[in-house]
């Protein structure tokens, strides 16, 4: 049927090369034996070894995972609540302010968010550490979660909930047994998004972290500011690998689920 014209094929190829070539080079040179990241000096995995020996990096990675996990769970709960408020709660005093506060962090420059949270923590005399990073990350990622969940909620057919009420559910029961299972995919992707945002954040973490709570991005940033280092390449490769593995697994399972559903559907119509 549709065949790609040479123009479209070229723009797709060049575009994908632009998107992926830098990362491919980064991954290849993480296996470079030499200290320079631009000159190939034979294959080696020694930088991975030295990375795992580097206690500062390992500690930072642990802090990052801890912050990411806790803040994304909190953000998912708060963000889902906020999405329900925005889509379902109707009018209430301060609704405009509420939806403004949900959308503003999405476009707010990170430097401002970071600065403002830092000034808050100082003003209330809170010591900066893991807790303050968690609070900061929860605040901005809950907004992303609420956008993801509310877009699913908007498409949700409210008559399903009415049907549940009609069949004897209390409103809470109806939410738990009908709405939540149906919007679950959006809640899960909201969690994933919040988790990645937290793992990825440099600027806000720099403002809100204390000396004892350095996260991985802060560590990476201070290392690469000085120049490129093969150890960072190795670390990046691991991070890219985890993401690629996760995304490919998810897309393959969902693809398989879709094909299975399609097959069953066809069978259903054949039977009917």
């Amino acid at each position: 049927m549709k065949r790609l014209s040479w123009f479209n094929a070229t723009s797709l190829t060049l575009g994908l090369a632009f998107l992926y070539l830098p990362m491919v080079i980064l991954v290849i040179y993480s296996f470079n034996a030499g200290k320079l990241v631009t000159v190939w000096a034979g294959f080696s995995t020694k930088w991975y070894g030295s990375l795992f020996q580097n206690e500062a990096f390992m500690n930072a990675a642990w802090v990052t995972l801890k912050v990411g996990f806790i803040s994304s769970c909190l953000a998912t709960i708060l963000g889902t609540m906020a999405a329900i408020v925005i889509v379902r709660a109707g009018r209430f005093p301060g609704r405009t302010l509420f939806s403004g506060m949900i959308y503003a962090p999405l476009v707010m420059p990170e430097v401002i968010t970071g600065l403002s949270l830092l000034l808050l923590f100082i003003a209330i005399g809170m010591d900066r550490g893991v807790l303050t990073i968690i609070l900061a990350h929860t605040t901005f990622s809950m907004c992303y979660v609420s956008v993801v969940v509310s877009s699913r909620l908007v498409a949700f057919d409210e008559s399903l909930e009415e049907a549940a009420l009609d069949l004897g559910c209390t409103p809470f029961d109806a939410f738990k047994s009908v709405t939540l299972p149906i919007i679950a995919p959006a809640v899960i992707s909201g969690w994933l998004l919040a988790f990645t945002l937290s793992l990825d954040d440099l600027v806000i973490a720099s403002f809100t972290s204390g000396p004892s709570s350095t996260t991985l991005p802060i560590k990476i940033f201070s290392a690469v500011r000085l120049g490129v280092s093969p150890e960072i390449n190795a670390l990046s490769t691991i991070m890219i690998g985890i993401v690629a593995f996760g995304v490919i697994t998810v897309s393959l399972t969902s693809k398989r689920a879709i094909t299975r559903a399609k097959r069953e559907e066809q069978k259903a119509f054949a039977d009917a």
Partner: protein, 380 residues
Amino acid sequence: MTESASTGTDFEPWNDPKAVPLIQFKNVTKRFGDFTAIDNLTLDIYAREFYALLGPSGCGKTTIMRMLAGFETATEGTISLSGQDMAPVPPNKRAINMMFQSYALFPHLNVWDNIAFGLKRSSMAKDQIAARVEEMLRLTQLEKFARRKPHQISGGQRQRVALARSLAKAPKLLLLDEPLGALDKKLRQETQFELVDIQEKTGTTFVIVTHDQEEAMTVASRVAVMDHGKVVQVDTPANIYEAPNSVYVADFIGDINIIEGYATPISDTMVSVDFAEGQPKIHTSCPTGLTAPQRISFAIRPEKLLISTEKPTESANILSGKVVDIAYLGNISTYHVKLASGQMIKAQSANTRRIRRRAITWEDDVWISFTDTAGMVLTT
């Protein structure tokens, strides 16, 4: 009810002054902001009725249904079920179930779990739930599809799942919101009879909302014709068709010729209608009678008119005109006849002959005749 049972097989509790309605609307008004969806509505629905709310979209019929289900509350007036005021009862505590227009089947549950959903919310024992679900599956002939998800079955099957789910709790009253709207025409007609059958088998009171007059006429014991938040007429399908109380009802149900004219009473039950200069007056019965001459609408259904090429010898009313258009519908044809006064009249006749041998064609001069009881005199 006892009386109607003793007088014969007819089911007409509304004609029995002693019968107690299951549902009562008393002076119910519903406003959404400035918009009045339901305007001072009073109606009674009796147990075991198949009651149809019929009207164009936006006439308020869905609002009535949602008030019955408990999703909307009346702004004024009371709605009672078996004599009990329903206003304080939330939807999940009402012995009323609803079949949604979109079916609202839970996409993450299979057919079996969809049907069991409401039962699991009651205090019913597990094995009883299973037995009830199986019974419902049998009733709707869905046994084979119990383990399928809603997206794995056809539209007609989905409709039956929705019906089974809403009937599973054996509600006192079942509400059906455009239950057949999503089905194609042939399936819709089959399903209409199935619905009536299931309604009779289960003895449940059904209230159906529809904009399809044919559907309402087929399934309902009584039809309430609605317009702009008001019920215009409530009656049996036959009476709605044969004895509409207003031009609106006459025009909404089926095809009809409406002729405006000036009526003069000639006896207690007969009037003559002067509708155009140079045209003979129409002699027609008017069972309610007119006390004084007045402007009226004379309504007559196309199938009640006889069309012929030769002037009929005896008929109460004979008009002449020219055929300007013919709509051939297979079993019948509708002839559009223009009278000398410019009035257009539609007359229908069954095509008992092959099309080539049809006696009447375009531009023919024809005669239209009808008896003095064929039409209706409508004052509103």
